[in-house]
C-alpha cells in the first residue's frame, strides 16, 4: 500500500499541488488524469521521491517504490542487460543475475539483452524503463505516462504485463492523457485540476456523477471538469 497525505507543492507563485491525498492498496491500479498542467507529474515525482513536497507526507520511502519516469532514464551506450544489471546493483538486489534474467523474460527483451539501448525502438526502450522500475520487486509502482511512446500492440503488451503485476499484489499508480486508457485499465481514477484533487473513484462512478446519459467516459470527464470550472 502507498499513502500520500495533504501533499502541497509550489513553483514560485504557482501552486502545483494543493493538499492532495491518495491511498492505493495492494493489487489496486489507480490512474491519475487531468488536463495539462494539472499536477499529475508533480504528484508522481513527489510519491517517487524525486521531488520534495512543501508540506504533507508519503507513507513509503523512495527505495520501496518502483518508479518509471515518462522519459526513459537509461544509458544509451550500455546494453539492455548492462542497464538492468547496473540498476539491480544500485538497488542492492540480493541476486542481481536472477533479477536481470527475470525482468528480461517478463518484458520479452531476452533476445535484445546484448543490444545497446541507443539502438532500440522507443517502445522497447520504454519496456526497459519499466523493467528497471520493477527490478527490486517493489510493492508499489509508479508510472508517468507509460504508454506515450508505444504503438497499439506494445501498449497492449504493457497493460497485460502491468495487470499481471497487479494480480500479484503490486499497487500501481500511473498518469495518462489517454482518458480511455484510464477507463479501461484503472480500478480507480484520481482527477487533478489546477493542482487540486477534484475526484477520486471508479470511472463508472465519475460517469454517474456527471449524470448525463449517452456520454462516454471521455465526454463525462470533460463535462465534469467544465462543471467544476476547469
Amino acid at each position: 500500500m502507498i499513502e500520500a497525505s495533504a501533499l502541497s507543492k509550489r513553483f514560485g507563485a504557482r501552486r502545483a499541488l494543493r493538499e492532495v491525498s491518495l491511498t492505493v492498496h495492494a493489487g489496486e491500479l489507480v490512474a491519475i488524469i487531468g488536463p495539462n498542467g494539472a499536477g499529475k507529474t508533480t504528484l508522481l515525482s513527489i510519491l517517487a521521491g524525486e521531488a520534495r513536497a512543501d508540506s504533507g507526507g508519503v507513507s513509503r520511502p523512495p527505495e520501496e517504490i518502483g518508479w518509471v519516469p515518462q522519459q526513459a532514464a537509461l544509458y544509451g551506450r550500455l546494453t539492455v542487460a548492462e542497464n538492468l544489471r547496473l540498476f539491480a546493483r544500485l538497488e542492492r538486489c540480493d541476486d542481481v543475475a536472477a533479477a536481470v534474467e527475470r525482468m528480461l523474460a517478463q518484458t520479452g527483451l531476452a533476445e535484445r539483452a546484448g543490444d545497446r539501448v541507443e539502438t532500440l525502438s522507443g517502445g522497447n526502450r520504454q519496456r526497459v524503463n519499466v523493467a528497471i522500475g520493477l527490478l527490486s520487486e517493489p510493492e508499489a509502482l509508479l508510472l508517468d505516462e507509460p504508454s506515450t511512446a508505444l504503438d497499439p500492440g506494445q501498449r497492449e503488451r504493457l497493460w497485460e504485463f502491468l495487470r499481471g503485476r497487479v494480480d500479484g499484489g503490486t499497487a500501481i499508480v500511473y498518469s495518462t492523457h489517454n482518458v480511455q486508457e484510464a477507463e479501461r485499465h484503472a480500478h480507480r481514477v484520481l482527477v487533478l485540476a489546477d493542482g487540486e484533487a477534484v475526484y477520486t473513484g471508479s470511472p463508472r462512478e465519475l460517469e454517474q456523477t456527471v449524470g448525463a446519459s449517452g456520454l462516454d467516459f471521455e465526454a463525462a470527464f470533460v463535462e465534469f471538469l467544465r462543471r467544476r470550472g476547469h
Binding site: E63, W67, Q71, Y75, G76, R77, F87
Partner: protein, 446 residues
C-alpha cells in the same frame, strides 16, 4: 559508487572518438612541444647578394689584416642563405615569397670599413605581406649586424689603443710597408729631464723645458687612462641580468613542458567531468539515481574522481613522452604526480561545476571550452605587457581558476624553481570551492 564508476568507464570505452581524443591529444601535444624544444627556432630563408669581389674582404687596420668575411659569415649562419647573383634576382625571390628577405652586401663595404670616413651600409629587402615574418627578418638581420658592429668596433678600438700605446710608450710601427720608430711621451720625458738637468740653474731654457716636461707628463698620464675610456666607447652598455621575481626561475624547456601538460590536463579534465555529469541529466538518469540509490554528493565525488584519475594518467603519459625530447629529472617524479593530481582534482571540480550548469553533454563541452581558453590566456599575460591595473586584474582573475596555480605547481615540481606548497594549497582551496559550487549547481537538476 563503484558500479557507477564502472558504468562511466564502460561508456567512455564505448565512445571511441572521445577515447581517441583523450589518447591522441596529449600524444600530439607532447610530440609537438618536444619537437619544438629539441629543434630550436627555424632560421629565416634569406637571399644573399655578396657584391664584394673575391679577396677584397681583407682590409688593413693599424697594420693588421682583418678578414671581414668572418663577420659576414656570422650573419649568414643566422639565416638560411640562398645565394643570388643580382639585385633583380634578389628582389624577385622576395616578391615571389621564395625567401623572407634579401641581404645585399655592396662592393664598397671593405673600403668604407678601412677608411672609416663614412659607415658601411648593407641593404635589406623584405616582404611586408606577413608582418610577423617581416619582423623576424628585420630582427634577425639587425641583431646580427649589431653583433658584427660590436666585433668590428672592438677591433677598431684595439687598433686605436695600439696607436695610443705607441704615442705613450714609444716603439716601432709600419705604414705603407715602411717601418719607423716612434719615440713616445715616456722616453721623450726622460730625455727632456736629462737635458734640463744638464743646464746651468740660471739658464732660462730650464723653465721652458720644464713646461714641455709638465705637458708630456700630463699627456702621458691622461692617455694611460684612455684604454679604459675606449673600452667603454666600444661597448658603452653591458647587460647584467638578474632575476628579482621567481628566484631560480623555471627553465624555458621546463616551462614549456609544464604549460603543455597543464593545458592538456585542463581540457581533458574539464571535458570529462563536465561531460560525464551532464550525461546523467541528458540520459534522464540523474533523478532515478538520486532517489535513494546514490547521494548527490557521492555522485559528484564519483565524477570528480573519475575525471581526475583519467586526466592524471594522461598527464603522466605526456610527461613520460616529453621526457624523450627534454631532459627531465625523474627523481622528482613523485612531485610531478602530486602537482598533476592536485591540478586534476581542481580542474575536475571546476568541470563538475560547469557540468552542473548544463543540461546536455554538448552544451557542457562548449561551456568548458569557452571558460578554459580565456582562463589560460589571462594566466599567461606577462607583467609589463599591459598596464598595471589590467595586470593586477588578470592576476585576480587567474587566482579564481586552477590553471595558474596548476602551472606554477607543475613548473616547481619539474625543476624545483620556487615552492610547491603555496600553489598546492591554492589548488586545494579551489577544489573545495568549485566542489561546493557544483554541489549547489546540482539543485538545478531537481
Amino acid at each position: 559508487m563503484r558500479w557507477l564508476l564502472l558504468k562511466d568507464l564502460q561508456i567512455l570505452w564505448r565512445s571511441p572518438l572521445l577515447v581517441a581524443l583523450l589518447v591522441i591529444y596529449p600524444i600530439v601535444v607532447a610530440v609537438l612541444i618536444g619537437l619544438a624544444l629539441s629543434r630550436g627556432p627555424e632560421k629565416p630563408r634569406v637571399a644573399i647578394l655578396n657584391e664584394v669581389p673575391a679577396g677584397g674582404e681583407v682590409i688593413s687596420l693599424g697594420g693588421e689584416e682583418v678578414d671581414t668575411s668572418l663577420y659576414s659569415q656570422q650573419l649568414f649562419d643566422a639565416v638560411d642563405p640562398v645565394r643570388v647573383d643580382s639585385r633583380e634576382e634578389a628582389r624577385e625571390l622576395v616578391r615571389d615569397g621564395d625567401v623572407l628577405g634579401a641581404l645585399i652586401l655592396p662592393s664598397d663595404i671593405p673600403f668604407k670599413l678601412q677608411s672609416a670616413l663614412e659607415p658601411a651600409t648593407v641593404e635589406v629587402l623584405y616582404n611586408a605581406e606577413d608582418p610577423v615574418k617581416a619582423q623576424l627578418v628585420r630582427d634577425t638581420i639587425k641583431s646580427q649586424v649589431q653583433d658584427a658592429n660590436a666585433a668590428l668596433t672592438r677591433k677598431f678600438t684595439g687598433v686605436a689603443l695600439g696607436y695610443l700605446n705607441l704615442v705613450v710608450s714609444g716603439g716601432s710601427s709600419s705604414f705603407l710597408g715602411r717601418d719607423f720608430a716612434v719615440l713616445g711621451l715616456g722616453p721623450a720625458e726622460r730625455i727632456l729631464a736629462q737635458a734640463r738637468a744638464s743646464l746651468p740653474p740660471s739658464s732660462p731654457a730650464r723653465g721652458q723645458i720644464q713646461e714641455v716636461l709638465d705637458f708630456a707628463r700630463l699627456a702621458r698620464e691622461n692617455l694611460d687612462l684612455s684604454d679604459e675610456l675606449l673600452g667603454s666607447v666600444a661597448e658603452p652598455i653591458r647587460v647584467d641580468a638578474r632575476a628579482v621575481e621567481g628566484a631560480g626561475s623555471t627553465a624555458l624547456s621546463s616551462f614549456a613542458v609544464a604549460l603543455a601538460v597543464t593545458v592538456s590536463l585542463m581540457f581533458v579534465t574539464l571535458l570529462l567531468a563536465a561531460g560525464t555529469l551532464a550525461l546523467e541529466r541528458e540520459e534522464n538518469a540523474f533523478r532515478r539515481l538520486v532517489r535513494g540509490l546514490v547521494s548527490r554528493t557521492a555522485l559528484l565525488g564519483e565524477k570528480i574522481g573519475l575525471a581526475a584519475a583519467c586526466s592524471l594518467l594522461v598527464a603522466l603519459v605526456m610527461l613520460a613522452g616529453l621526457a624523450l625530447f627534454v631532459e627531465l629529472d625523474w627523481s622528482r617524479a613523485p612531485l610531478w604526480a602530486a602537482a598533476a593530481a592536485a591540478g586534476a582534482l581542481s580542474f575536475a571540480a571546476m568541470g563538475a561545476a560547469i557540468g552542473a550548469l548544463a543540461r546536455e553533454v554538448r552544451v557542457a563541452s562548449l561551456l568548458a571550452f569557452m571558460v578554459s581558453l580565456p582562463v589560460a590566456f589571462v594566466a599567461l599575460v606577462p607583467s609589463g605587457t599591459v598596464s598595471g591595473a589590467i595586470y593586477d586584474t588578470t592576476r585576480v582573475v587567474s587566482a579564481l581558476f586552477p590553471f595558474d596555480p596548476a602551472l606554477t605547481a607543475l613548473g616547481a615540481a619539474l625543476d624545483g624553481s620556487g615552492g610547491m606548497l603555496l600553489p598546492l594549497a591554492h589548488l586545494l582551496v579551489l577544489t573545495l570551492a568549485f566542489g561546493a559550487a557544483a554541489r549547489l549547481g546540482l539543485r538545478r537538476f531537481d
